[in-house]
């Protein structure tokens, strides 16, 4: 049995009703690649405004959770809910059936993602990278989108690079642009998939500072897969420890990091902190 603290504990910023609807809900989610079971009947909820860090050994299914939420992968079984609406499925004549592309497009607009591999569009300027989706997905006017791009770049400290191509920027700068690009869509949920793992060590701090700032100034819900335990401790309300597609331990970072209850959490943290 995974050990779990109360999700509605004092760490969540605003007072939450016990019956408050979770923003994200995984219900018996199964994901397999061939014979390899990556997620094994996974159940968990994330409340609005919660910042959750997913930790665990590689191959434990953390990134798969983010990819399922972004609809880059599809569940094999179970249902994912976002803000009360099914994401992996949709209602047809009162029954839940597999979601169509169109249904997923509608629901996933609430979600933004920043990738380990940056994935900026190299053929566009920084400005176009940020404004492309607001203009063409949300139908925002070009002027409004430009203004928003300028604000976001200001926030990530790259206001002067707006007309550059991403290839002219460092990895850390590119990742800050990617964060701005995701936020330009005003998502309710921000998914961060090992966003500093591909960066040179000296560039990591700048990116984490931007994320800390976002955590401090907004109430955006975050799901972050990371190996930066210091960042997890500072920013998250809740840490989920994964192993073999299951949640092994679930609780506030202060407790998980200082007195882990599960043997697997202890050995994982030991290995990570040793390496760090």
């Amino acid at each position: 049995m995974p050990q779990s603290d109360d999700n509605n504990s004092a760490e969540v910023p605003k007072a939450r009703e016990a019956e408050e609807q979770p923003l994200v809900r995984f219900e018996n989610v199964v994901k397999r690649y061939g014979d390899n079971v990556v997620l094994d009947e996974l159940d968990f909820n994330v409340l609005p405004g919660q910042r959750v860090t997913l930790i665990g050994p590689s191959g434990s299914g953390k990134t798969t959770i983010l990819r399922l939420l972004m609809t880059l992968e599809q569940v094999d079984d179970g249902v994912i809910w976002v803000d009360g609406d099914p994401l992996s499925h949709m209602y047809r004549n009162g029954a839940l059936v597999r979601a169509s592309q169109k249904h997923q497009r509608g629901v996933r607009k609430k979600i933004g993602m920043v990738f380990q591999q940056l994935n900026l569009f190299p053929n566009m300027t920084v400005r176009r990278n940020i404004t492309e989706a607001p203009v063409h997905t949300l139908g925002m006017s070009r002027d409004e989108a430009d203004e928003r791009a300028a604000e976001l770049l200001e926030m990530v400290g790259l206001a002067d690079r707006i007309d550059e191509h991403p290839t002219r920027l460092s990895g850390g700068q590119q990742q800050r642009v990617a964060i701005a690009r995701a936020l330009a869509m005003r998502p309710e949920i921000l998914l961060l998939d090992e966003v500093t793992s591909a960066l040179d060590p000296e560039l990591v701090a700048g990116v984490l500072d931007v994320l800390r700032e976002i955590a401090r100034t907004t109430d955006i819900t975050m799901l972050a897969v990371t190996h930066e335990m210091g960042f997890a401790k500072d920013v998250s309300h809740r840490v989920l420890m994964f192993d073999r597609g299951q949640i092994v331990e679930d609780g506030p970072p202060e407790r998980i990091f200082s007195e882990p209850r599960e043997e697997r959490t202890k050995s994982f943290l030991h290995a990570v902190l040793e390496a760090g």
């Binding site: 972004m70 880059l72 994935n119 566009m124 492309e132 997905t137 995701a182 869509m185």
Partner: protein, 215 residues
Amino acid sequence: MDWGFVGAAVPDLLSGLRYTLLATALGYVLALVLGLAVVIVRRGAPRVVATPVFWVMEFIRSTPLLVQLFFVFYVLPSAGVSLSPLTAGIIALGVHYAAYTAEVYRSGLDGVPTGQWEAARALSLPGGRTWGAVVLPQAVRRVIPALGNYLIAMFKDTPLLFAITVPELLFEANRLGGENFKYLETISAVGVLFIAVSVLSAAGIRLLERRYAAV
């Protein structure tokens, strides 16, 4: 070598060259557009459509262009489709080379990292924008050299249109040569004109490559 005869033959040879260039240009545009359509169908369409398209393209690449020219010009009329020699030639060239440009596009698209598609999906970009603003601009840069080679290859294949009576360069040269028993002059002139156009085209393609590589 009768230089006087070469000079007198120039107007007729240039008229032939005009047909050659016209067939190349229109055939190439057809190949570019049709090849793109093929690769989009093969990627996006349901399997019942995509699989037959794949086999048709395999078939076209595995049969000689000359046979295809004869088919379009001499066989299609029996099915009620009569085309002028030039139109038949352009269609056969375009369809034949579409089978090759489709492969070039495919490799160009495969070269666009999966992360680009995923980023477009994460931003819920409409399909048209994903293709038009993200994927194709990145793929185009990779495919220019290969597409350029096929342009020159197609240009060098246009003498085959001779076989379906298109009055292109070789057709004119052969006619002039036959009428005057001066094949050395006329056929050499064909060679020179082909070299001139090929070299110019290759230079143009290199210019394009350099422009797009700079992005």
